[in-house]
């Protein structure tokens, strides 16, 4: 197969993946809508708990408000929400496979590591986020109600990637021809994708905790569960991100003559790193542990997004050659 045909397959796989993600999102939305109606019949005892927590939402409740699917789904008949959710998860897996295929064929078509421009980068960040999400879901199936909110930013990013940022399969400039591209850009991409999950979890945590989410928020897992999800994914992503930045510095030393030069991208990467460091410190500080820490985590993800898009597209710097 020649490169043009491969590139075309890659684009079609990408579009197919986006389509399946949208479909999965629709199913997750239906699942989410079905959750409430399912609860009173499936677990009448829990209905009281729901009422109790919504009445006093300011107190974070450790107990899951939704019945814990991991423990009880075996004993309980599968509800409509379960069936919808299960189908949606299968679709997400399918979409992730399609997207992986798209990235691989893109790499084969361009004959290089498929992380050479903003489009490919965005796609890989989204795939990393989805895979992270699937891993989380496998370990904690009770979190499935969060899926809708993880897929939403993913689909938005993929849409932007496929339209605004789209670039045809092409080689990269000499400065990018280095195995450090593989090391640096891949780790940064994967950690950025990983960080999407805690960003979403912290936002939902804040929504859940504020009690202002109304009907939208009270079907979510408990605030404590969301908080734990945010923390655990962050502590995996943060060292990886740190490694990515260090790898970038090593590459910059070989490519640009200095390991750190306060290039806009480097500066914002530093800011994001400091914000996540602040998050970890906040987790160990009395009075900052929950609400404020969550805000910091959300800010961290905002800075990462800002670095991915705004810095490349608006600010001129050494990292600006990546496709746009």
């Amino acid at each position: 197969m020649n490169d043009v045909v491969l590139a075309m397959y890659s684009d079609r796989l990408f579009m197919a993946a986006v389509g399946v993600y949208v479909l999965a999102m629709a199913l997750h939305a239906a699942e989410y809508a079905a959750l409430r109606s399912a609860q009173p019949t499936a677990a009448p005892a829990e209905a009281v708990a729901v009422g109790a927590t919504t009445a006093a939402p300011a107190v974070p409740d450790e107990r899951p408000v939704r019945p814990d699917l991991s423990d009880e789904s075996a004993a309980r008949p599968r509800t409509r929400a379960d069936r919808l959710g299960g189908a949606a998860v299968n679709l997400v897996v399918l979409a992730a496979l399609l997207q992986f295929g798209s990235i691989v064929t893109r790499g084969l078509a361009a004959d290089r590591w498929p992380l050479g421009n903003m489009y490919e980068f965005t796609s890989a960040v989204c795939l990393a986020a989805v895979v992270t999400w699937l891993v989380v879901l496998r370990r904690l199936p009770a979190l499935r109600a969060v899926a809708l909110f993880v897929l939403l930013p993913v689909v938005i990013l993929l849409f932007l990637g496929g339209t605004v940022l789209y670039a045809r399969a092409a080689p990269v400039v000499p400065a990018l021809r280095s195995y450090w591209l593989v090391v640096h850009v891949t780790t940064i991409t994967v950690s950025s994708g990983l960080l999407l999950v805690p960003g979403v979890a912290s936002l939902l945590f804040l929504l859940r905790r504020s009690g202002r989410g109304g009907a939208l928020a009270d079907r979510l897992p408990s605030a404590a569960t969301l908080d734990r999800l945010a923390y655990r994914t962050t502590i995996v992503a943060f060292p990886l991100y740190t490694f990515g930045v260090i790898a970038g510095a090593i590459w910059a030393e070989a490519a640009w003559g200095r390991f750190w030069g306060w290039d806009p991208k480097e500066t914002v990467a530093f800011v994001a790193w400091v914000v996540y460091a602040a998050y970890l410190h906040a987790r160990a500080t009395a009075g900052w542990r929950t609400g404020r820490a969550a805000w910091i985590n959300v800010a961290g993800w905002a800075v990462v997004l800002f670095n991915l898009f705004f810095i490349n597209m608006v600010v001129a710097g050494l990292h600006s050659y990546a496709g746009i």
Partner: protein
């Protein structure tokens, strides 16, 4: 950093003596500065302070963009400039934030390191009297002798740091046995390694800024030479605070050839320069031999503690001027690319007429060949470049004659001619022509200007940073410490076994996570199940009594 509560106010006493007030003030300032809360605020300030460095053009990166910003925002820019917003990373307020943060870090690390070293030898703390008060707790009574349960606990707590103790109980013949177990001390070790390496990294970074330098120079390919012997050899030079340029490591470089390859679209595919170099030792022995090597983008030459980079390239056209009296002068200087994708270049090659002694005549007979150079010409009347490689070079030049200002003592750009001199008549245009290599113009006074050909030039950078290897070492330790401190959780587990008549045992369990709470609940549940023998995968699974009260469920307290 210190994980204790915020700094407490001084104890409320009767009016203290002034010296006490001063002491209290100092002590409270120190405590305040080294508290976690302050560290957090400082981290935020650092993040916020760094942001303008990314959003506003910086002098250290691009002076041209800063000038542009001044043109675009004539009122705002001077104000921002006064606040050092165009030199954020050299600004006093940025330095203030990171210095405070470093002091806070040191103030926090020192006592914690001391505590850690002391704590390494101390056994786990004694079992609290009331285990039910702990965040994780469980109690039950088993129909087994205490010895059996103790054996199971010992098996399960392999790998934990444990200390068994006897407590005085009601029955002296059957003492109450307790165990304090602790795991995850490496968490704190990792934490300290991370923070100490961070300090090391900052110190090494600063050392690099003090003793390092970097300089750029343009060298013609095909034999052009450059020696790192002083600042004057460079086109631009950025010296560290402790570098005055008198003590550079001397090495020499000769650029033998340069090869660039391009995609069909004109996008560069590779740049490679074949060079020869002489190290400081070679120069000391006075050898004529050059060590051959190649440098390329991403592949610098590392020698004598310095690195030599290939940054970019361009073209230098060669012109030969033959004066009416037969004297010849050849000019070959770099022209600068005005379009990076096609390498269309502009420049000015200047000549002073040789053998003229009369000051006035010498001043007015200068020549400049100035205009555009297209490496691959589009052909046609208006010369433009269609491809960056040197496939079909053509120049479109004006030959200017008169006073170029070469002798007036003022510095001038090597790329341009002061065009205002055309208006004042100090310069006149003697010819305008498009030329290919070998073409010649004859001026009205019989002077001939020939376009001989084009050579590549390369832009080289010499960088010297004696501390960067320490920055890397610190970074590696930092990452190791970080992973250790995040992966390892420090937690404690206590068991109290009280004989409860008729061969039964009262079992009380307690657990406390010393680091982040998230996640100890499940492990505590597993530990509990193992101790009670209800662990489905555990060794005692079959012998366990599946009583309802023995399916523990603990909760993380809010």
């Amino acid at each position: 950093m210190t994980t204790t509560a915020p700094p407490t106010a001084p104890p409320d006493e009767s009016p203290p003596a002034p010296s006490h007030t001063l002491w209290a003030l100092l002590r409270n300032t120190w405590r305040g500065l080294t508290s976690m809360r302050t560290a957090l605020v400082l981290l935020f300030l650092l993040a916020v302070a760094a942001l303008p460095g990314a959003l506003l053009p910086q002098r250290s990166l691009n002076q041209r963009l800063v000038t542009q910003y001044f043109t675009d925002h004539p009122t705002l820019a001077p104000l921002l400039d006064d606040l050092k917003f165009f030199d954020v990373f050299a600004a006093p307020w940025f330095a203030a934030v990171y210095l405070l943060l470093m002091i806070s870090l040191v103030g926090c690390l020192v006592p914690r390191t001391v505590e850690q070293i002391r704590g390494l030898r101390t056994p786990p703390v004694a079992t609290p009297r009331n285990l039910a008060r702990l965040p994780h707790a469980f109690a039950t009574t088993l129909d087994e002798p205490a010895g059996d349960v103790e054996a199971r606990v010992r098996r399960r707590l392999r790998g934990w740091q444990v200390r068994w103790r006897d407590e005085a109980g009601a029955d002296p013949a059957h003492p109450v046995r307790t165990v304090s177990a602790e795991r995850g001390r490496m968490h704190e070790v990792g934490n300290l390694v991370f923070h100490l390496s961070l300090l090391g990294l900052l110190v090494a970074f600063a050392a690099g800024k003090m003793f390092g330098y970097e300089g750029q120079v343009i060298v013609l390919s095909g034999g052009g030479q450059f020696c790192n012997t002083g600042i004057l050899g460079y086109d631009s030079f950025r010296a560290g605070l402790r570098v005055d340029g008198t003590d550079l490591q001397p090495f020499c470089v000769r650029v033998d050839d340069f090869t660039a390859t391009y995609e069909a679209t004109g996008q560069p595919a590779s740049f490679t320069a074949g060079i020869g170099y002489q190290t400081a030792a070679d120069l000391a022995t006075g050898t004529d031999a050059w060590r051959p090597t190649t440098i390329a983008v991403n592949h610098p030459l590392r020698t004598d503690g310095s690195r030599l980079y290939l940054l970019g390239h361009g073209y230098a056209p060669r012109f030969t001027v033959t004066y009416p009296d037969g004297q010849q002068r050849t000019g070959e200087v770099q022209w600068r690319p005005v379009d990076q994708t096609t390498l269309l270049s502009e420049g000015a090659t200047k000549f002073a007429r040789p053998g003229v002694t009369d000051e006035e005549q010498r001043r007015t007979s200068q020549l400049a060949v100035t205009g555009l150079l297209a490496p691959t010409s589009s052909g046609g009347q208006v010369v433009t470049s269609v491809f960056p490689a040197l496939d079909d070079p053509e120049v479109a030049v004006d030959v200017l004659r008169g006073d170029l200002g070469l002798d007036d003592g003022r510095g001038q750009s090597i790329f341009t001619v002061d065009r205002s001199k055309l208006d004042t008549g100090e310069l006149t245009r003697a010819a305008r022509k498009n030329m290919r290599p070998g073409d010649e113009i004859t001026l009205d006074d019989g002077t001939r200007v020939r376009f001989d050909g084009v050579r590549d030039w390369v832009s080289l950078q010499v960088s010297h940073d004696p501390a960067q290897v320490w920055v890397l070492t610190s970074a590696v330790f930092m990452l190791t410490g970080l992973m250790l401190s995040l992966a390892v959780r420090r937690r404690r587990f206590w068991v109290r076994l009280t004989p409860a008549g008729a061969g039964g045992t009262r079992v009380e369990l307690g657990g406390l996570a010393r680091t982040d709470r998230a996640g100890y609940g499940e492990e505590f549940d597993r530990l509990t199940a193992a101790v009670l023998g209800t662990d489905p995968d555990g060794p005692g699974a079959d012998s366990a009594d599946k009583d309802t009260q023995k399916s523990p469920k603990t909760e993380d307290r809010p």
